[in-house]
Symmetry: C2
Subunit: 220 residues, 2 copies
């Protein structure tokens, strides 16, 4: 499956980086991983290749940079077309991109409203976050995965956030499973997949990271 | 080029709808146009097919809805592949999607900071907007179009906003041309193209629309 050198500017707790690592794993593509020190100072390479956003992930393929996680996952699907992640039918592809876009715009930001807040704002954040998850649950419906019977593009875009859910649950005082049982079952299903299991960090470790980050930001 | 029935839920002043109409025109695809009355009340069809965003454009192709303008333009390019809008090379495609995403996230919102504001906030909005345009000018460089020699995906995503520039210039007290001469030349170049010229409304009409909208919102 090798098609030249693949390198990733990564950060272990970033759900956006996890997407890229899952997509590479699904395609059986090995990569060199370079962890960024987001607190200690971003690397020159990151700042040079992504001057507008200054964010991980950055994928280098044969020396050329590809930016933005959802775009990178689509790129990986085009360059290594076996085991396709996006459906082949244009309408189903457009639907997958629509849900990926909703997840991009709402899930991380929705969760941040919980863990970056205190007091009454936490309740507002929790309500918003559960509403977003319920929309996703509606899109999932009775299917095993967002695209149907097989793990694909939207699953890869969404599943990394689940490693942050424990932190949201602890800071928000709720359980995702109580509100969205189908999403909860989908998470367990995805975690049985090798590509997901090997990439997603332990939610306890993410919770500790979020706790440290809250302290650094002076929250509480 | 016909491949079944094509219908668009449209609003004449929406740059997002203009994207879809330019893409259809580039492909030589005829469509039935249904204007939404965004002030008088959105149609049942719009609310039913796009319950999350409740926004135009909605493209119906053979009865199936496709949502979100950038996704719709990509869909059109896949369904009617002749005269391709996206490049064929995966890396160039990823770059086009990256710039489309920047435009999606920043240009309309940047302009709104000018025309939805008064006083000192207008100056802040103007500064931000010019900065975004300068980033785009950097991406355009010395090329005729964003993708090189031919009009393509990123041009279609970006050019509709130019019909709002007169309003930004009047409310912001500046000229785009003074700050971004290459963007200004690119706009003139695109307007010579039939697909663009026939879709973009007269900037004076957009200015009147924005003026009315400001009054309705109680701005000034």
């Amino acid at each position: 499956m090798a098609k030249g050198e693949v390198k990733l500017l990564d950060f272990w707790a970033s759900p956006f980086c996890m997407r890229v690592k899952i997509a590479l794993a699904e395609k059986g593509v090995e990569h060199e991983d370079s962890q960024e020190d987001l607190f200690g100072g971003k690397s020159e390479l990151l700042l040079k290749t992504n001057p507008i956003h200054q964010k991980v992930p950055v994928l280098f393929h044969n020396g050329k940079a590809v930016l933005e996680s959802t775009i990178i996952v689509g790129y990986i699907d085009e360059v290594w077309p076996s085991n396709p992640l996006l459906p082949t039918c244009p309408h189903a592809r457009a639907q997958a991109r629509f849900w990926a876009d909703i997840i991009d715009k709402k899930v991380f930001e929705g969760g941040a409203k919980i863990w970056q807040s205190t007091g009454e704002a936490v309740e507002v954040g929790k309500k918003d976050f559960i509403e977003i998850l319920k929309q996703l649950e509606g899109a999932l419906g009775e299917k095993d995965y967002f695209g149907g019977d097989s793990f694909g593009f939207v699953d890869i875009i969404a599943i990394p956030f689940s490693s942050w859910f424990l932190a949201y649950e602890i800071f928000g005082g709720f359980k995702v499973e109580d509100h969205c049982p189908k999403i909860s079952a989908w998470i367990k299903r995805c975690l049985q997949r090798e590509s997901v299991a090997k990439v997603l960090p332990d939610p306890e470790r993410v919770y500790e990271f979020v706790t440290t980050f809250r302290k650094m930001q002076g929250i509480e």
